[in-house]
């Protein structure tokens, strides 16, 4: 705590990397919503785009998941992590220009992956569709950003670690490991038969149930105390949540029905049950940290963050439920799992990231604040959209699963049982698209306003010098 750098200089050092990461993330988020709508429309009008291979369901759907995870989640999460590392360490971000370059490289990799998926060059592994040339780009970009994140961390002027930093360090360590394992063992030196499925599910479990959780909680554990003005409750509870998330979450992901020896799905189900422990810890932290503060309904960063944390608790409870053998018999293979995963990604991760970005961006931009009204519109659209997207899918999935489990019901009747919920979820997707457009608009206008101020001051500076010439006596 000797040479404390001024907050504004720290924020300024993050400016360019965050503009690139957040701007790109918002763009990909909108695009992913578009593809999710295209995929959904296939169930309303199957013959639509029947002559276009690149708009077929089997390509629009992976385009959605690819853009959502690699386009939005990772860059948004990285941006939030970088800013938190700089702020909590009270140090300027190391090599912001290099980070910006590699952030752009990351987005290029996402674009390459998207084109490859639409062109049919998918790997065929869920949540890991990008072919190896795109995967290598993403890996290099992530590792290089991580390197400078660690340099920033090691240069920190505040020695003591705040809980968020544990989560960030673990997340930065986690992603390269799981991503390189998946790339190497699925694409460069593919393993045989169902071992691919085991690696794929291990990767997805670690990506969705650990990486997203680590980053989302890092942000939540920072913003909850910060925005309520109360200390985080508490050091040990956060430590407990951290250890249980990484210990148990990392074993989740293998579905009960997998064609793998019984011990793997059994172990995964047990881990999903144990994931209730960090969820309970998070719920306790959220309640006790916010105790006594008025419930805010202004749709600001705090609303996003709080709701996001609760969505994590709900999604984890649903995960534990849906992997218990009795329930899994019904929910496996249905839209339920899609709804539950979407709840985790949109409801938890999306919410916490949007909240964090809305908190961070005004600091980084400088004087400008994002209009509270537009933030509120974003919040309500996103919240209602997520609910209408995820819940009907889950309800429809249960209806579908109950009929699937009964062999006397014809398959098509079972498939159609989910359609009511599915149609509602399309409405949710529409709202999410609207929300994401508002988000993109807010982000872009904040970035633009920064450059406008920059230009204006430069212009004024220039004209000031010119003034004596222009003024005629």
């Amino acid at each position: 705590m000797t040479a404390t750098t001024s907050t504004s200089r720290i924020d300024a050092s993050c400016r360019l990397p965050l503009f690139t990461l957040f701007g790109g993330a918002a763009t990909w988020l909108v695009l992913s919503s578009v593809f999710s709508l295209v995929a959904s429309l296939k169930f309303h009008a199957p013959a639509m785009f029947a002559d276009q291979a690149w708009l077929s369901y089997g390509r629009a759907y992976p385009a959605w998941s690819h853009l959502l995870v690699y386009g939005f989640c990772v860059p948004a999460g990285l941006g939030v992590c970088l800013w938190l590392l700089a702020r909590l360490g009270q140090v300027e971000l190391a090599r912001p220009l290099l980070i910006t370059f590699f952030a752009k490289l990351w987005h290029l990799g996402v674009l390459v992956g998207l084109i490859a998926i639409l062109a049919g060059q998918t790997t065929g592994y869920e949540w890991f569709e990008l072919p190896r040339y795109a995967a290598v780009i993403l890996f290099i970009a992530f590792v290089m950003i991580t390197v400078w994140a660690f340099v920033t961390y090691s240069q920190r002027t505040v020695e003591a670690l705040y809980p968020s930093q544990w989560f960030i360090l673990a997340a930065l360590f986690w992603f390269p490991w799981i991503f390189s394992t998946a790339t190497l063992l699925l694409q460069f030196f593919p393993v045989r038969g169902v071992v691919q499925a085991a690696v794929n599910w291990w990767y997805v479990g670690n990506l969705l149930n650990v990486w997203l959780t680590l980053v989302g909680l890092a942000s939540a554990f920072y913003l909850l105390p910060k925005l309520t003005g109360r200390p985080l409750h508490s050091y040990y509870l956060a430590l407990f949540a951290f250890l249980t998330v990484i210990l148990f979450g990392t074993w989740t992901g293998i579905p009960n029905h997998a064609a793998l020896p019984a011990w793997m799905p059994a172990l995964s189900s047990a881990a999903s049950l144990l994931s209730l422990i960090p969820a309970l810890a998070v719920a306790t932290i959220v309640i006790l940290t916010g105790r006594g503060t008025p419930v805010s309904r202004n749709g600001g960063p705090l609303c996003f963050t709080k709701l996001g944390a609760w969505a994590l608790v709900l999604a984890t409870v649903l995960l534990a439920l849906s992997t218990s053998p009795g329930v899994a018999r019904v929910t496996d293979y249905t839209w339920f799992t899609h709804g539950q995963t979407s709840l985790r990604i949109y409801g938890f991760f999306g919410m916490t990231m949007l909240g964090a970005i809305y908190h961070i961006l005004p600091h980084v931009v400088g004087t400008n604040r994002i209009a509270a009204g537009r933030m509120r519109i974003n919040f309500w659209l996103f919240m209602v959209g997520t609910v209408i997207f995820a819940l009907p899918l889950m309800a429809g999935g249960i209806a579908q699963g109950l009929k699937l489990a009964n062999p006397d019901v014809a398959f098509l009747d079972a498939a159609k049982a989910a359609m009511m919920g599915f149609r509602l979820s399309t409405l949710g997707e529409l709202l999410l698209l609207a929300a994401n457009l508002v988000f993109l608009f807010n982000i872009v206008s904040a970035i633009v306003s920064y450059y406008r101020v920059l230009c204006r001051s430069a212009y004024e500076e220039a004209t000031e010098q010119l003034e004596p010439v222009g003024v005629k006596p």
């Binding site: 169930f43 199957p46 013959a47 029947a50 276009q52 077929s56 369901y57 089997g58 390509r59 060059q121 998918t122 065929g124 592994y125 869920e126 961390y153 003591a160 670690l161 809980p163 544990w166 360090l169 673990a170 360590f173 986690w174 490991w177 394992t181 699925l186 593919p190 393993v191 045989r192 038969g193 169902v194 071992v195 691919q196 085991a198 291990w202 670690n206 430590l239 951290f242 250890l243 990484i246 210990l247 990392t250 029905h257 064609a259 793998l260 020896p261 793997m264 172990l267 995964s268 293979y333 249905t334 799992t337 899609h338 489990a405 062999p407 014809a410 398959f411 098509l412 498939a415 359609m419």
Partner: protein
């Protein structure tokens, strides 16, 4: 947690444990296991797909069929049917043996319409205890091991699928959602390649109410009468646009060949036993693929 070293150590221990469990262990356990013979035969199982079907697997992957179709059959349990196929010469002794199993079985009606399942029990041991005295009377009786479960009742396969079934699949397309029916055994229930091609071109023409999108881009529209008749998709009159004919592309043909090659649960394995039917059943050329 005041030191970053401890954070990394915790993360390393947690992640390396699950890596060893779900990446390394499956590789050691399944990834290098030699193929084994299917039960009761001397042939190694499975065999690699023939050329066209192997190309079709690539089309299947590229089209993302896996997002709607799983390729794994589940199983809830297993039961043992006792099948009586011949009463033998000493009918009275056979009836006496049947009566000792079950009073109702010891009637002459039991011996009519053979072969048939006369009793279902839970274990092979229990079935053996019944079959043995029957055999001693000279009757021909056997135990039929029958996997049970909703997937199997739907006709999606004869047994559950296991690791060995997928030894040659790259990428393996297990799937986690069933917006459409499971395809692990689709070649067994619908072996007609032309059916699959017509179904790909227009699913509703083969399965009324189908929710599957048509894959028209796998076919080409050409002026009628210009192409080799073998390449033209046989459609009901009026289905093709006037003056045009629908020609199968190589991708469509490969995909259909792949679908027909999917017969994952044909043979019993030690880890997934069942009693196969004596001769391959005549495949029904109906709309059953969607059921």
């Amino acid at each position: 947690m005041r030191s970053s070293a401890i954070v990394f150590l915790a993360a390393f221990i947690a992640l390396s444990a699950s890596w060893a469990g779900f990446v390394l262990a499956p590789q050691l356990q399944l990834g290098r296991a030699p193929l084994e013979k299917s039960l009761g035969t001397e042939t190694l199982y499975p065999v690699a797909r023939p050329g066209l079907a192997a190309q079709g697997a690539e089309v299947y992957t590229a089209l993302g069929c896996v997002y709607c179709h799983s390729q794994q059959v589940g199983q809830d349990g297993v039961r043992c049917d006792i099948v009586l196929s011949e009463p033998g010469t000493n009918v009275l002794a056979t009836l006496a043996a049947l009566r000792s199993v079950d009073e109702n079985l010891g009637k002459p009606e039991t011996l009519a319409n053979l072969p048939k399942v006369i009793k279902t029990v839970a274990t092979v041991a229990a079935a053996d205890a019944i079959v043995k005295p029957l055999r001693e009377t000279g009757a021909k009786a056997g135990v039929k091991i029958v996997p049970t479960g909703s997937d199997i009742s739907r006709g999606w396969g004869r047994r559950r699928t296991v690791a060995q079934d997928y030894a040659y699949d790259l990428p393996v397309q297990l799937g986690t959602r069933r917006a459409g029916p499971d395809l692990a055994d689709v070649g067994a229930r619908q072996p007609d390649i032309e059916w699959h091609l017509r179904h790909l071109y227009d699913p509703k023409s083969e399965v009324k109410d189908s929710t599957m999108p048509p894959y028209r881009f796998l076919f080409e529209e050409r002026p009628a009468g210009k192409s080799d008749p073998a390449d033209v998709l046989a459609l009901p009159a009026g289905a093709a646009p006037a003056g045009k004919e629908i020609v199968k592309t190589d991708a469509a043909r490969a995909l259909a060949a792949y679908l027909v090659s999917l017969r994952t649960t044909d043979v019993p394995l030690q880890e997934a036993p069942f009693t196969p039917p004596p001769a391959p059943p005549a495949a029904p050329a109906t709309n059953s693929a969607a059921q």
